[in-house]
Symmetry: C2
Subunit: 364 residues, 2 copies
């Protein structure tokens, strides 16, 4: 599988008259090498790939990651940079006789390009490239789809286990940490993003950070959580109340759920991204909540929790079979709170296959 991906990328390099390609984006690095290390931000990389237009590729890293890099990769030569990445790169490129080096312009710091130019000198032309590997990742294989579905089903099991224990008196942080503990106990590598747990008016912030706010009877609880399983991410949101919900909550939840169902129905290969967004948005607008839905309907998911395609009112691209998307309409009311529901599905030729099976709180 890795070898096929490298072959395909190398063919693309030859087609663009590129001698080598430097892979810095962490999900691309994992996709092409199986190296699982994560980075501490863009300024602290745990390694990059150097893919020549043909022949054996390299994984370049430092001594901290040497053992892991050698254990996890096959078909790669692991080299350590001791005097910096660019100095090592100069040597390897000279050995290849490479003159045109492509780099990932969308995951390369502006200042670092300047430093790289200085070290490599005039012998090597730097060619900025964007989203070359991301485009390969856009359409998932059946194996990848299987892993994504497994991640979603595990996500649901974690959610259900925590959901059944939520009672007044708990704090947002307490629930968030419980979720992250249970997901790892159940086999997840890590959360795919920082778990959101928001009570009451805090749920009006789509990206709320869990606080020590204490849950009261009857309050809204919004949980947006994701995990990583075998490299692939899940992303799921549920909104419910502890105790009996009032009618306003039920009405608003119903609007969001109807919007979600409408979008799910509109999802299929050939559908335009913005039309899927609008299928959900129209229902929210019709209910009088148009101004309360400030974000896009959804996004792609794979090795990264946020990737292409974006389901937004501005994206005029068509969906293709094998793409994965979230369907997450939400409405937010400062002071009152918010409601968001998020599922994940794979786009198929004649519709979509929803990964989520649990209907807790959605069976309206």
């Amino acid at each position: 599988m890795i070898q096929q991906r490298i072959d395909k990328l190398q063919a693309a390099l030859r087609g663009r008259n590129l001698d080598a390609f430097l892979v810095t984006e962490p999900a691309n690095r994992r996709y092409l090498s199986a190296y699982t290390s994560t980075d501490h931000g863009i300024q602290e990389s745990s390694g990059v790939l150097l893919i020549p237009k043909k022949g054996r590729p390299w994984l370049l890293t430092d001594s901290r990651f040497e053992l892991q890099a050698k254990e996890e990769t096959q078909g790669f030569t692991v080299e350590l940079y001791k005097k910096g990445l660019f100095v090592l790169l100069k040597t390897l490129l000279a050995g290849l006789g490479a003159r045109r080096l492509a780099f990932e312009s969308h995951y390369f710091l502006h200042a670092a390009v300047g430093r790289m130019e200085k070290v490599l000198g005039n012998d090597v032309e730097l060619v900025p490239v964007t989203n070359l590997v991301e485009r390969m990742r856009l359409i998932k294989s059946e194996e990848e789809i299987g892993r994504l579905k497994k991640a979603v089903l595990l996500n649901e099991r974690v959610f259900q286990q925590v959901h059944s224990t939520v009672v007044p008196g708990m704090t947002e942080i307490e629930i968030a940490l419980t979720i992250e503990r249970i997901m790892r106990e159940m086999g997840a590598e890590r959360p795919s993003f920082e778990t959101i747990v928001a009570f009451g008016s805090n749920a009006a912030k789509p990206h709320a950070v869990p606080s020590d706010r204490v849950l009261k009877e009857g309050e809204i609880v919004l949980i947006d959580m994701g995990l990583v399983l075998e490299g692939y991410c899940s992303d799921m949101t549920r909104t419910f109340t502890v105790g009996k919900p009032d009618n306003l909550f039920i009405d608003r939840l119903r609007v969001v759920r109807q919007a979600q169902l409408a979008a799910t129905k509109a999802l299929r290969a050939g559908a335009v991204c913005r039309e899927v967004d609008l299928a959900a948005r129209q229902i929210i607008v019709d209910a009088g909540y148009g101004s309360c839905f400030g974000h896009g309907l959804g996004h792609g998911v794979g090795l990264a929790v946020h990737e292409a395609p974006r389901l937004s009112s501005r994206n005029r691209k068509q969906l293709r079979a094998g793409m994965i998307v979230t369907i997450e309409p939400g409405i937010y009311f400062p002071g009152w709170g918010g409601i968001r529901l998020e599922n994940m599905a794979v786009v198929r030729e004649d519709g979509c296959e929803l990964f989520n099976e649990d209907l807790t709180g959605l069976d309206l």
Copy 2:
């Protein structure tokens, strides 16, 4: 405090003939605005600052972060980008009559500079700037030093609580999650990096990722942990064994501890960074372990867990009073394991003030 920092930055902009400055680096953003939001990687910013050379600055974000941005900042105008950051920027710059816009070249994607140029057009000259705010952050005020010390002392309390419960049969992940839970229960915002817990031979990887490996009697346990308290980071490493350590472990631990003490003694304003590294390194070399110490001695800490100055054998800069550094020598043996000890200290005119108070396992 925020206002003083803005004043100082604006004076620096005027001194460089810059009309405005775009702040994208998250720790710089927090330093200048008190806005606490964190980003989901460089590609998903929760907002940027636009600092004009004089007058009121802006915080530019999207609707997801509007409430938080308004709650947390004072003296900033919060503006939402609906058609993208660069379109909003164009309008604001035109209103200012700004012709020269500086941006943080070390925290700006190469591809994004291209897109920004395209939107802003010929009216605005883009000026790459590096580490302007980082240099302001390098010397900590007494208030910042107080917060950093508080973070370290909380870190020690969390460590002690967990340390006393470590027994054979526990897994690396279990201990790591317990640490992260307890730190939040004790008031930390979040871990400052992913907690490292490594048993036995796993401790040979300086950046080991916790696994489901089960702890056995007599094995090495290396814990490298940090937390964020009131925005400021701690970073601390301890290595111990469960049960009675063998003589080889004790000998090696003693070498690392002696190296750490030597470096602590060498730390003072005016000392050259590489000389502090070498003070520790020489002891490790003399013990015959020179090739086992593959990383630098330490790094600065503040709003970011890794910042300047680097204590490495290549850094010829001098330390100044008010800088914060880690002192973390380590030796690693594939197959056997590794030992690292890490403290934090503030550089003073006549020496250093060690933040750490706990000597568990160091009292050799």
